[in-house]
Assembly symmetry: C2
Homo-oligomer: 203 residues x 2
């Protein structure tokens, strides 16, 4: 088993952080997106969808999509549990994981892709769309402040894959789109600092 990984992008970091929480070490192969290595034939023959990260099994089977990779790892290594133990907890964590992707990650990522000079060559940028997405990201951050005032973690009372999705999003995008995680969202900031202090945040 080996993991195709990029050191900078937030999505590969989700898988690294997940593996670190599990105490697992899978051999990694660097695929540097910034250098276009994910588009080179050496990679696309293995991973036709060109996505990073990708998990390659010993028989050559490739799994893409960070959450699908993490779910596979969880099935093989159930503890510590990060997707939920009972059907209800699994549903709640899945719900929050998805909300963090669709409501937090997407507006931040879209604001970045459609505004940042570094993305100009990769994205058909629409500045007016970036502006609406930045506004949406700020609204979602305010909603998250309410959620984290009620609960210590994204999906409730314990750490889960939903925290990894939200943390890797907020560790990467805010400064790139000019949004601060500061005193306007104190509970988000406290939560962020708590997650950043976990050893897995260094992965």
């Amino acid at each position: 088993m080996k993991l195709y990984d990029d050191a900078i992008a937030p999505t590969p970091r989700r898988v690294r952080m997940f593996l670190a929480e599990k105490g697992l070490d899978i051999p990694r192969v660097a695929v540097t997106i910034g250098k276009g290595e994910h588009l080179a034939e050496a990679y696309t023959t293995r991973v036709p969808s060109r996505r990073v990260p990708a998990l390659e099994l010993d028989d050559g089977t490739v799994i893409c999509e960070s959450v699908a990779i993490c779910r596979y790892i969880e099935a093989l290594h159930p503890e510590p549990n990060l997707f939920g133990s009972t059907p209800l907890e699994q549903a709640r964590i899945d719900m929050w994981q998805r909300r963090m992707e669709f409501e937090l990650l997407l507006p931040f990522a879209n604001a970045f892709r459609h505004s940042h000079p570094k993305m100009a060559a990769l994205e058909n940028q629409v500045p007016a769309y970036a502006a609406t997405q930045k506004q949406l990201a700020e609204q979602r951050l305010a909603m998250l402040e309410g959620d984290l005032a009620r609960n210590p973690f994204i999906a409730g009372d314990r750490f889960s894959i939903a925290d990894i999705t939200a943390f890797t999003t907020l560790a990467f995008f805010p400064r790139l789109v000019g949004i601060a995680i500061g005193e306007q969202v104190p509970h988000v900031k406290q939560w962020f600092d708590r997650i950043a202090a976990r050893p897995s945040a260094g992965a």
Copy 2:
């Protein structure tokens, strides 16, 4: 247990179709998005995120996000299996389900939201963005044609939740954004007609 449901929107249809494949009948409460019923206090006190569909359990617990709802149903009623039986099959189906959401549903939905007159009151429409998303939807449809030339179903050799996501997307959005599922994508059309012939497609 009851399901808050809208008869028109494609996302609630995913859950209805999933339940029909399972042979399950859960009491439904109509929440008509077109009439703004999801924003009324009667609903938002139960479902603060205002999302439809939502599954309410007998103790008042609410699960939102169609895939989280389906995953919960699958845990309670494992057969017929729609999320995969082994860790590897579960990972592959999850990967395809997510690809259909991020690569097919999102561009179609964005093209619709940012261009259709009916969405003007609900969305801060950016026509230039709608145009790029329509182009992306067409590209993804061409990619799907290649996938369905190789496999009879989205995730491989059998029907799964990934087919439900792709089918409900393509049954709703294409005509609204001026894209045909026609002879330019014959394998997509054959697959679509095959899924449309399943009794669950009437749900």
